[in-house]
Amino acid sequence: MKATVCVALAGAAACAAAPVASGATRDVWVAAVPVTWNQVPNQRDAIMNMAIDPKDSVFGTTVYRRYTKGWKHAQRNVPAGSSNQDLIPGPLIHARVGDRLRIHFKNLDFAHAQPHSMHFHGVTYRPSSDGAYIPGVSGRDANVKPGQAWTYRLTAGANSAGVWPYHDHSPSMHDSIDGGMYGMLSIFGRHERAPDREFQVVFAEQGEFQTIDGRAFVGNTPVFRSRVGQLIQWDVMAMGSEHHTFHVHGHRWTIGGTARDTQNVGPAESFRIRWRERDPGTWLYHCHVESHMAAGMIGIYKVSRR
């Protein structure tokens, strides 16, 4: 289909500080928790009709998880209707330009006993909310040990609209990012309409597999759903060390007036795509790097007529 709404493209670099008028203050409660993760719960590559042994797809890891106030009750990371996936990526954090965010983070991973942190792209903050470990320089924000907590104070400036990564930047970041400790900020314009459906696609290599949201092969990766007439938004980013090309079958969008159906995304880069859906059917979305697609980076997008 042809895109009916423009594309908002967000670069990788954190934006410069920008004065912001008063907006809402949003409190988000997040914890690092240990989980046993299965990249391929149906234990098969259905397209190639190949079985996947659990010993190759199950491992212990640490993920970001959304909680209610005071870390009392665990919640789903994604809003209802956005995905049938959970835990990887971390909570989808929404804000509007002008908002202030207070991200209350607690390290509840006593199983692996590693420090963790949260480092956000695309928003304005003081160094004490950077969450990036620098020996002898950074503070507790970058080295939150098991049982400890930190509140990151962020501001969504005028140039923060779009989608942005966040991820662990503590001393354990290389292992924990490999294990799925990343998520997305989704910042709407001050008066911008929120989409009816918002789909998160995070490309990341993970051991033997090339994953979308920590899962590999159709059926395991998120099955996204929408209806004809809905305003849908894709939030796309990559983590790790490889570049990917995001492709959706049967649809097109525009960048700077040029129609596209495939778009590059490199490590920690991100972009969002919007369109008004009008093409019912069962479609594929995937990374078009062939070896990545063969190693699991592919999923299903279902559009119903009503």
Binding site: N38, P41, K55, V58, F59, H174, G207, V218
Partner: protein, 290 residues
């Protein structure tokens, strides 16, 4: 990801071993297709740890987009710079543990564990009280008597004896009763253990609909296995097969109850698994109607 928990062999899918062998790093030992292989990725070796037999040659293809080295921590071997689409191979002639790293990227570490006895990993589960072939390789010489020991949770005990053949292999048939770890022992030498899954449990289920599009499934496992993991799976078209929807632990009566919201009537079953929630030890009959 805790990298040690993943067995990543992505290189095998990307570049066939035979193709790689043509690009062996100059000066390295020649590699054969059957040799143990460790893929060099962008920032990690995979698998991180490999068990090989004394006399085996390990092959390291560089499957990443930048050069690496394979350098022993104790300096006993060093590949030098392995450029892209090249590889390094080394023969290990003495049992022991050989940690190594990449000098260009110090965070990249791996380990080769060299043994005089190795058991082949069972490729399929066994039936209870039915013969199952166990095989392995030895560097101890033809005619060596090898004890096959099994551990069902109370320690290893001898269950069979095999004799090493002229080709260095040995094989024997065992009759396992339940899921067990096996190892081969000759004198003071022992192989690392391998796990043989025995499908010796049965699961009875009862499924019924509740109000609010909820599905209730009760499961009882025999013989009793309190504390074991059971998983309710639904066969979902969207998921291209059996999909785990809820996990539970068997109570003291070897019983578990699942309640899930499920509008459409789809095939349902309960499986008994290892603690990973995925390796299946027993499967109930499939409930088509409820």
């Amino acid at each position: 990801m805790r990298r040690a928990a993943l067995l990543a062999i992505v290189a095998l899918a990307v570049l066939p071993a035979a193709t790689r062998a043509q690009h062996d790093h100059s000066g390295a030992t020649a590699a054969a297709d059957s040799d143990p292989m460790v893929s060099i990725g962008f920032d990690a070796f995979s698998p991180l740890m490999v068990d090989v037999l004394t006399g085996d040659t390990v092959n390291w293809p560089n499957d990443s987009a930048r050069p690496h080295t394979v350098t022993a921590d104790d300096g006993s071997f060093d590949s030098g710079r392995i450029v892209v689409r090249s590889s390094f191979a080394r023969r290990f002639d003495a049992a022991g543990t050989y940690p190594y790293h990449c000098t260009l990227h110090p965070g990249m570490r791996g380990e080769i564990d060299v043994h005089d006895l190795l058991l082949t990993n069972p490729v399929a589960p066994a039936g209870p009280n039915r013969p199952y072939p166990i095989s392995g390789r030895s560097a101890l010489g033809s005619g060596t008597q090898v004890a096959i020991e099994a551990d069902t949770g109370s320690g290893f005990a001898k269950v069979a004896t095999a004799s090493v053949g002229a080709d260095g292999t040995f094989a024997v048939s065992v009759i396992p009763k339940t899921t067990s770890a096996f190892r081969a022992v000759a004198g003071t030498t022992a192989s690392p253990p391998v796990q043989l899954i025995v499908l010796d449990h049965s699961i009875k289920t009862d499924a019924r609909r509740l109000k609010g599009h909820r599905l209730k499934v009760e499961a009882t496992v025999a013989p009793a296995a309190p504390g074991s993991m059971v998983v309710l799976q639904l066969h979902l078209k969207d998921r291209f097969g059996w999909w785990p929807v809820q996990m539970a632990t068997l109570d003291a009566r070897s019983h578990a109850r699942f309640i899930v919201r499920q509008r459409a009537r789809v095939p349902a079953r309960v499986v008994l698994t290892l603690p990973d929630g995925a390796t299946i030890l027993a499967t109930s009959a499939t409930k088509q109607r409820y």
